[in-house]
């Protein structure tokens, strides 16, 4: 199968193995700030006054039961979903309403979806160059060079001229990461990036993400992959029923969660 792990390529983008140190966030300035964010879907209250600050270079893992509002939170940060109350700022700048300003701001926020969402009618390489050329105005040649570099980095350079449907899920997701990186985003959002993958492909994607985290990228990652959270996260945020119930460093969260719901949730997923 074409989904061989390529640890060497991944290691190329990361420092030698090194645990993230929780203290580092204190010195960094806040990049993404949510204040009292509210979201309803009709009568359903999905985000209940969420306060969350993500510092530059910080990796935050969001965890919680299905339906707790994790996806909605991610989608609110780049305004794929509008909010009904509160404020979301990125580098101090409030999210603009629809229009050119919003599009510009979205370009600065990379998003990786559970279902990859690669453009089905474009080749892998075109998927990666589309944004830089059409949004940033980069020349086709320059965007192509950069795309090849990024595809190399995520280990799918040999697939550049194929269409998404010809790739394995793991390869598609790595292309999706390259597509987001091509915009030079200031923060990357991952919404359950490995949930749609066959088990044997999960690690190839997590390795790329770990490398990205080590390279200093600011990341918000919705995932239930404990290994990744322990390895790469600075903080774990636990959500349930639209509220942030716990916000702790990974070690503390996994060994000694405070909130009963977090304890309950952990006992369920860890015994699986």
């Amino acid at each position: 199968m074409g989904n061989v792990r390529r640890p060497c390529t991944v290691r190329a983008m990361s420092d030698p193995v090194q645990a993230p140190h929780p203290g580092r966030t204190a010195t960094r300035r806040p990049l993404v700030v949510l204040e009292g964010v509210q979201k309803h879907f009709g009568a359903l209250h999905v985000l209940k006054s969420i306060d969350l600050t993500i510092a530059e270079g910080e990796v935050v893992v969001v965890i919680g039961p299905s339906g707790s509002g994790k996806s909605t939170l991610c989608r609110a940060i780049n305004r794929l979903e509008t909010i009904d109350g509160g404020r979301i700022t990125i580098d101090g700048e409030e999210l603009p309403a629809e229009g050119k300003d919003l599009a510009r701001l979205r370009a600065d926020v990379g998003m990786v979806f559970q279902s990859f969402n690669l453009f089905a009618h474009k080749t892998v390489r075109q998927n990666v160059t589309l944004g830089p050329v059409k949004v940033r105005g980069t020349s086709a040649a320059e965007a192509g060079r950069r795309a090849d570099e990024l595809l190399q980095r995520v280990g799918v350079a040999s697939q550049a001229s194929k269409y998404p449907a010809q790739l394995s899920g793991g390869q598609q997701q790595r292309v999706a990461i390259a597509r987001a990186l091509a915009m030079d985003p200031r923060v990357m959002l991952f919404d359950e990036p490995t949930s749609a993958l066959d088990p044997e492909m999960i690690n190839e994607v997590l390795d790329v993400m770990t490398g990205l985290a080590r390279s200093g990228m600011t990341m918000v990652v919705v995932t239930h992959e404990m290994g990744f959270a322990r390895r790469a996260a600075d903080r774990v945020v636990f959500m349930a029923e639209g509220e942030v119930l716990e916000d702790a460093v990974p070690e503390k969260f996994f060994t000694d969660p405070e909130h009963p719901r977090a304890k309950d949730f952990l006992s369920k997923i860890l015994t699986h």
Binding site: L80, L105, R106, A107, V109, G110, H121, A165
Partner: protein, 226 residues
């Protein structure tokens, strides 16, 4: 049958008139239909309303009525396009055909847009593409693939609908036929057969064109299907 052979040039001129009407009407209704479809899926409630009202008005009005309106009322409203009266009537006829056909094109494209998974548009928005580029670069190219077969049927209907323009001082196949019938009262059946054959040949050419397009899009799509 001698009457057909003797009047090949009349059939030819009629067919040419039909082709010209068809060509401009196709071009116009594809452009306007696509634009209306974009209106109908746009985030602006006002644009959506315009699209909906347009489609429901023109799709549900007989083409003959639209044609008569263009030919009789537009001159009264002093809406003219050219000095030349032949061209003027053709422009009115094309306008009527476009107004009518684009409502069907719009609905076909809109249903094509609905076949494109919503994640495609979200990924496009997420990389910072504005609404118009999300549609033109990502959604519409994928929607058009699903639209080719129904569009073929709509254009087939348009080809025959050009005959309504004969009532609006346009010279096309039906006008040619009427002229020939008047001159050859004893060979009406032959004239009708000749006219039918001409329409069928034009429709088959159109069908072949649609097939070629469909195959080209399929080839382009290559492995894009799982």
């Amino acid at each position: 049958m001698q009457v057909i052979v003797d009047n090949l040039d009349a059939f030819g001129r009629g067919a040419w008139g039909t082709i010209v009407l068809f060509f401009w009407s196709t071009l116009g209704s594809l452009v306007l239909g696509t634009l209306l479809a974009v209106f109908r899926v746009s985030p602006s409630p006002a644009l959506r309303a315009v699209g909906t009202i347009y489609v429901n008005l023109f799709r549900n009005t007989p083409l003959t009525l639209i044609m008569v309106f263009c030919v009789l009322c537009l001159p009264i409203l002093q809406i003219t396009f050219t000095e030349d009266s032949g061209r003027q009537y053709r422009a009115y006829a094309v306008l009527a055909l476009v107004a009518y056909t684009s409502s069907f094109v719009c609905e076909a494209i809109r249903s094509g847009i609905n076949t494109v998974p919503v994640g495609q548009a979200e990924a496009a928005r997420a990389i910072g593409l504005p609404f118009t580029k999300v549609l033109s670069l990502v959604v519409l190219p994928q929607a058009f693939r699903a639209v080719v077969p129904p569009l073929g049927s709509i254009l087939n209907a348009l080809l025959k609908n050009t005959s309504v323009a004969s009532a609006a001082n346009n010279f096309e196949l039906i006008s040619a036929m009427r002229g020939l019938v008047e001159q050859n009262g004893n060979a009406v059946i032959a004239v009708l057969i000749g006219t039918t054959v001409t329409y069928v040949v034009l429709a088959l050419l159109l069908f072949a064109g649609v097939e070629v397009l469909e195959r080209a899009l399929d080839r382009d799509r290559k492995g894009a299907r799982a």
